[in-house]
Amino acid sequence: MKKIWHAVRTVLLAVGKVLGRINTTILLTLLFYLLLLPLSIIRKILERGKKGTGWIERAPLKEGHYKKQY
């Protein structure tokens, strides 16, 4: 009985993994076209003609710099 449950569990986990991959791909693709694409279009309109060049000044380190992940 234990062996059967183990086999069922293994199969279910494998199926879950495949479904997870499909779901992830679908959700990320939706996000890409529904959120990133409109943002991209707006940005391209706003930034038309801008072309940054040369050295960019760096801001000095802020308090607690090393504690932050950003």
Partner: protein
């Protein structure tokens, strides 16, 4: 007692570094333990070794610092996708799951992997590079230049170091990257990205820079102040899974070279062209930095700082009095820099220039070592035939073998930190023999015939052989062989008459120095060919076991490991040796 552990991981060349009261105790790359070249995984074994060498438990650390800011890196990735949308879906679908599953939770991952409850800190990627360049340098005050593919946003930064502080003043941002430009050509020439860049550098002297104009006209615009801008339409690295775009291929008249296919004159000319452009841009940046900072000395780090041909030009032509480059200038050195930045700038630990006592030189031998009690059982376990000798006999026998033309595996003391073997995990040979280069390339290292070997020379004799007037202890400067020595050391003279010089002093590596001195006394030439103790596609060896495996599976004639000397012809025949020394090409240089 303030102890900080630095970690670099999840891009390429993961590493760990332990700093105690501002002094580096140990620094190691994970690849040496995992045996995966450029391993990017969490450096568990490197951490374990560093803590063991420091005699320190994980709960005795005052902090663990990661070498970059993960949220800023994600911001750059998302921004890039937004800018390029609807292009980039394939890259986005590949990168995002990894970020959401792993890279976004680095703090938790470090806690889990190390079982550490104390502070987890984060340094900026280029700040880590800058700290790795300036803090171990011999200078109290210096200009700092970092150049690599990309960190969070920054690809190039200019700054200044003074005492225990570093300030990065200005930068060039992604997608404009000199490192990625060079890597794009590495890809186009059929070499592995983030790994084969030094092959492009080695190939360049065989060609003519016929494509320099094409590169300047179409790919990169460089200002007089060294700032630069790439035409991103020629590249795919922003959104694709490749480095170059179809437009790039049309510009250079064909698709990328297939790995392993013959190298033509065109490939050599392209390599020469990108090398020339890179040298010019680096030189312009350095001249600008010299003018702006007013500093006399320069410290450099980042992957581009491993371009030793460009470094030689900077030293000669940029106007700085001296140049210092940290030997692990790539991402592995980020672990070192992050730990030093936190140690000095955050915890206020005193800095002693040179990383040791005041005035002494930084030593790159920061890895594991093995004593006779650890080496002998390994040799016995293999049934190896060896002799145990005192140092003078060991050196005399090795010198004699080198003079006879033997290729020697040399395993001594602490392992090097960084990509260069500096006389601890080295393959050595007589630099005067014209045939030895082809013999080592074909029969020992199994690598491309065009690749040059570097000379190790006694520090006091460097000016007798090379057009170089100062030490180059980390093999990071290229200089021409003197005209009157032309032809005297053919095994280490590149096709254009240059050599990637390593100078050796007794302070750097006492036994290696004595070997060179012994060879010089016997032959009148204190120069040896020095290349890393590994074969193509594998990391440099770490342990006595790996040394013996490599010795038995390659064309090495002699192995000198600690006080033990082994001759190939005396080893038992029919011995089955598995492991290090086979031609493996597993390479986990990860991409985002």
């Amino acid at each position: 007692m303030a102890r900080v552990l630095g970690i670099s991981a999840f891009y390429h060349d993961s590493a760990a570094c332990l700093v105690e009261n501002g002094q580096v105790v140990a620094a190691l790359q994970e690849e040496r333990f995992s045996r995966l070249k450029h391993d990017s995984s969490f450096p568990s074994r490197a951490v374990e070794a560093a803590l063991r060498m420091g005699g320190c438990a994980i709960d005795e650390l005052d902090g663990v610092v990661f070498y970059e800011k993960p949220f800023m890196k994600l911001e750059r990735l998302l921004d890039t996708y937004v800018r390029n949308c609807p292009r980039g879906l394939a890259s986005y679908l590949k990168a995002m799951p990894v970020w959401f599953k792993e890279k976004l939770w680095i703090k938790e991952l470090i806690r889990r992997e190390l079982g550490f409850d104390g502070p987890i800190l984060f340094a900026d990627h280029h700040e880590s590079h800058a700290a790795s360049a300036f803090f171990p340098s011999p200078f109290q005050s210096a200009a700092v230049l970092t150049l690599d593919g990309v960190g969070e946003w920054t690809t190039t930064s200019l700054g200044r170091g003074q005492g225990t502080r570093i300030e990065l003043i200005s930068e060039v941002r992604f997608p404009h990257s000199l490192g990625l430009l060079y890597t794009a050509f590495t890809y186009y020439l059929g070499f592995r990205v983030n790994s084969g860049e030094y092959k492009v550098m080695g190939l360049a002297p065989y060609g003519e820079p016929r494509y320099e104009g094409l590169i300047r006209d179409h790919l990169i615009h460089v200002g007089d102040d060294g700032s630069f801008r790439l035409d991103t339409r020629y590249f795919s690295y922003e959104t694709g899974l490749r480095m170059t775009s179809r437009r790039f291929h049309e510009l250079f008249g064909g698709p990328p070279r297939r790995p392993g296919s013959p190298l033509t004159d065109k490939h050599k000319d392209i390599a020469a062209s990108i090398q020339k452009v890179t040298e010019d841009v680096v030189l312009r940046i350095c001249r600008h930095l010299r003018r702006e900072s007013g500093e006399k000395f320069l410290c450099m780090a980042g992957g581009v700082a491993l371009n030793c041909v460009a470094n030689g030009k900077v030293l000669r032509e940029a106007g700085f009095e001296d140049l210092w480059i940290q030997p692990a200038a790539g991402d592995a050195g980020g672990a070192l820099g992050a730990a030093l930045a936190v140690s000095h700038a955050h915890l206020g630990q005193e800095r002693r220039t040179g990383g040791g006592t005041t005035g002494s030189r930084w030593n790159a031998l920061l890895g594991t070592s093995y004593d006779a009690d650890e080496i002998q059982p390994v040799l016995d376990g293999y049934g190896a035939v060896y002799e145990r000798l005192d140092e003078s006999s060991l050196i005399a026998r090795t010198v004699e073998a080198l003079d006879r033309g033997a290729v020697v595996g040399w395993f001594q003391g602490r392992m090097e930190f960084g990509p260069r073997a500096l006389g601890s995990r080295s393959i050595l040979a007589d630099a005067r023999r014209p045939d030895i280069k082809d013999r080592i390339n074909a029969g020992v290292k199994y690598r491309e015939s065009f690749r040059p070997f570097a000379p190790a020379v006694l520090e006091e004799s460097v000016a007798d052989y090379f057009k170089l007037d100062r030490p180059s202890p980390y093999m990071l400067l290229v200089a021409d062989v003197r005209d009157d020595r032309n032809g005297s050391i053919p095994a280490v003279t590149h096709v254009d008459g240059s050599a990637r010089v390593q100078t050796v002093s007794a302070d750097d590596n006492a036994r290696f120095y004595r070997l060179l001195r012994g060879f010089g006394s016997r032959t009148g030439c204190p120069v040896l060919l020095n290349t890393s103790f590994n074969v193509r596609g594998e990391p440099i060896i770490e342990s006595p076991e790996q040394a013996y495996q490599c010795f038995m599976r390659t064309g090495l004639d002699l192995l000198v490991i600690g006080d033990f000397l082994l001759e190939k012809e005396k080893q038992p025949s029919g011995l089955e040796i598995a492991g290090v020394g086979g031609v493996q090409t597993r390479d986990r240089g990860a991409r985002e």
